[in-house]
């Protein structure tokens, strides 16, 4: 096993990307993800890759569209306001079925907001984000190790589904340092019989999202929908302390990481609390939650926003027959394990006694 290295979260993403064969990076500075472009600008040259600091977030996503259209592995990264600007390009990539990896080390909003960790971009990430009826796969790491591992996976998933993949982290996951173990990446080969390479010895290829003939766009959208449905086989989640649990806390990303300490505290005090952490936010692990809801009736969503994943949780567990509570912390401060314990205790007392 490789020796542990002490690495910053953003750098782990950049490392994972290069090891997964990413050779083209396009970005624009924004806090708190600047370590990613900085790392890429230094290290992509070692592997004959290309780094461009673009004139805008809009240009970055379109450069990604262009590079990926040739079949190359490419990435862009940004943080919330910059991700808003990229939405047009992401919509086009989905419509034209062009893969690509987009990292959102999100900060707080709305507007310029602040640079604190936030999960306020959950809806934007999981509902498509731009115009049109589309979805991207959304991966939510909760540690520096997962930043690294899931970035590698993101490139495989993007190629496999010919679809953009979003990595949704936040300032906490980008800025903290943790030991990680590198692993050998085994590249999976996916057919690129759609890529722009020049029509040599074959028919010309088109990558487009415009369909004007009668019924054409309807068929295109149903085909895309079928693809989004098929992504369910990629669902990932983690559970902790589920045996005999009477209350299941559901959380993703940085706050799930904090909750691991909190749930341990609750168990130490004899409270039967479990933790369910979605790793794929789209597709959401609805079937797994539904299954759990047949034996456990009490759920609690905890998020660094005013209630977004909460809606997916309610849809998953049948809100009418099960009890779903919520604790939200809008950006501005990060809750401590003690503070979260206090909130969970209140719900536990109300529901279980």
């Amino acid at each position: 096993m490789a020796e542990a290295e002490f690495i910053k979260g953003n750098e782990a993403i950049a490392m994972g990307a290069i090891e997964a064969g990413c050779r083209f990076y396009f970005g624009y500075p924004i806090t708190p993800q600047n370590d990613i472009p900085e790392y890429m600008s230094r290290h992509l040259t070692d592997v004959d890759g290309t780094f461009i600091q673009a004139e805008s977030e809009i240009a970055s996503i379109n450069m990604l569209l262009g590079a990926s259209s040739t079949g190359a592995r490419a990435m862009t990264s940004s943080s919330s306001p910059g991700i808003s600007l990229k939405q047009e390009g992401i919509s086009y990539m989905c419509g034209s079925q062009i893969p690509g990896v987009i990292v959102n080390m999100s900060r707080s909003g709305p507007g310029l907001g602040g640079i604190d960790p936030s999960q306020g971009d959950y809806f934007q990430a999981t509902r498509g984000g731009g115009h049109g009826d589309y979805r991207t796969i959304v991966l939510a790491p909760h540690s520096v190790q997962e930043n690294y591992d899931l970035t590698m996976k993101a490139f495989d998933l993007a190629d496999k589904y010919r679809n953009p993949v979003v990595i949704l982290g936040d300032a906490l996951l980008g800025q903290m340092k943790e030991p990680i173990r590198r692993r050998k990446y085994r590249k999976k080969e996916f057919p690129k019989d759609w890529a722009m390479t020049g029509a040599k010895g074959r028919k010309k290829r088109l990558l487009k999202s415009l369909y004007l003939s009668e019924g054409e766009l309807t068929d295109h959208n149903w085909m895309l929908n079928k693809k989004y449905q098929s992504m369910k086989r990629e669902i990932m989640f983690e559970t902790q302390f589920m045996e005999g649990a009477k209350l299941v806390v559901v959380a993703f990303g940085s706050v799930a990481r904090i909750l691991k300490s909190t749930v341990q505290m609750a168990r130490d005090r004899g409270m039967k609390v479990g933790l369910f952490r979605p790793i794929t936010l789209f597709p959401f692990p609805s079937a797994a939650l539904d299954k759990i809801s047949h034996s456990i009736k009490n759920f609690m969503a905890v998020e660094l926003n005013t209630g977004q994943m909460l809606e997916d949780l309610k849809l998953s567990v049948g809100h009418k027959k099960n009890q779903v509570d919520f604790y939200g912390r809008p950006p501005g401060s990060i809750p401590s394990p003690d503070e979260l314990f206090h909130e969970i205790k209140k719900i536990y007392k109300k529901r279980i006694g």
Binding site: F24, I52, G66, T197
Partner: protein, 246 residues
Amino acid sequence: MKQTFKRPKALVDIPFHFCPGCHHGIIHRLVAECIDFYGLREKTIGVASVGCSVFLYDYFNADVVEAPHGRAAAVATGVKRASPDNFVFTYQGDGDLAAIGTAEIIHAANRGERITVIFVNNTVFGMTGGQMAPTTMSGQETTTTPFGRDLETNGFPIKMSELLTELPGSTFVARAAVNNPKNLMKAKKLLKRAFEVQTNGEGFSFVEFLSACPTNWKMTPKQATERVQEEMIPYFPLGVFKGGQE
């Protein structure tokens, strides 16, 4: 019998959808002839933009990727950096390139991206029905300047070729017209040079074509072609602005 005129191999054998008197068809053909002349068809990756020109991908017998409105130069940057051995061109109207895509074209030129940009300036938004473009002439009536373009409130018709000439990153910049056989022959010469700038690895090349839009100008094709000569060329002068020495 000797065949003296035929369709370029780089064009698919289907009729253009363009309105009668529109110059897009002529400009498409010129681009296709240059692709044939340099034997580039199998190496070409076209970047289609948004507007009347979007159907480029139906007409060109080459790989084409569609760009969002105004973003063709950024998309082409990504394509060319990832595939430097391919011939990469964009084909954009004035609404696309000179309004919403101003940032992308300026920075692609300034980075000296080794791409060829075909810019078609007909002084209106064509596909959306003839609204004012940044290139709309002073006093020109459009659907959003019903009383004529007022320079006081709408600013001045923008001269993209002159603007890009000033950037140290651009290698070849020229303006052409296809309103008469003489200008058409000159235009092809300029376009060839623009192709060579990319195939020789010299840098960024840009050819602006003045083009007629009889439908949105509410003119006959003949009147529209005369307008190019009488109104447009005096304001948008033809010729090589940069990089013509070779």
